[in-house]
Amino acid sequence: GESVGLHLPTLSVQEGDNSIINCAYSNSASDYFIWYKQESGKGPQFIIDIRSNMDKRQGQRVTVLLNKTVKHLSLQIAATQPGDSAVYFCAEWFPGGGNKLTFGTGTQLKVEL
């Protein structure tokens, strides 16, 4: 399982660079994965999702990659902007789980000007 602590992993990038945020998940039965963005003082906001029968999905400036062999998920943000600064969480969902989402620890993304 993932460790939980008071200090989030932090990724600092320059404005305009690409960002890659990684996540390890634990449940091999998980069928659906979602990336959420959480800005300070706000609730999680849906970014992009991917089903377990896919290995890549693209959105606007974001791409999610799924590697089921090693149970790894990544979020790529192209041309990172100051407004992208937030905490990013991956979440997993599996059938029969009462529709609950299981969230990862989160990564703090800081965009430097």
């Binding site: 602590g5 659906y32 003082g41 609730g43 609950k100 969230f103 990862g104 989160g106």
Partner: protein
């Protein structure tokens, strides 16, 4: 754009007191959830609710917690006797269906502080 709303934004209470956190889910949504987030930690599932009954609950959701949909619009979380460790952000979420979990929309949260 429809959104989930929560009140109050911040609740301060004494240990042992009862609190009720309120949520108004998106109007055509059928599934409702409560999550909590202790400061600096990950978001944790508490309970899911559908058709006026609990469909799943976590180990955190013990006998001190209860949920209710008292009318057609509100969804509440009650903590009967608060403990210091209940201090956290509590998020309400809702979704149209259970087939697409990515469609869970979260509210802005209620910060609960137990003194």
């Amino acid at each position: 754009e429809p959104e989930v709303t929560q009140t109050p934004s911040h609740q301060v209470t004494q240990m042992g007191q009862e609190v009720i956190l309120r949520c108004v889910p998106i109007s055509n949504h059928l599934y409702f959830y409560w999550y909590r987030q202790i400061l600096g930690q990950k978001v944790e599932f508490l309970v899911s609710f559908y058709n006026n009954e609990i469909s799943e609950k976590s180990e955190i959701f013990d006998d001190q917690f209860s949920v209710e949909r008292p009318d057609g619009s509100n969804f509440t979380l009650k903590i009967r006797s608060t403990k210091l460790e209940d201090s956290a952000m509590y998020f309400c979420a809702s979704s149209v269906s259970s087939g697409s979990p990515g469609e869970q929309f979260f509210g802005p949260g209620t910060r609960l502080t137990v003194l």
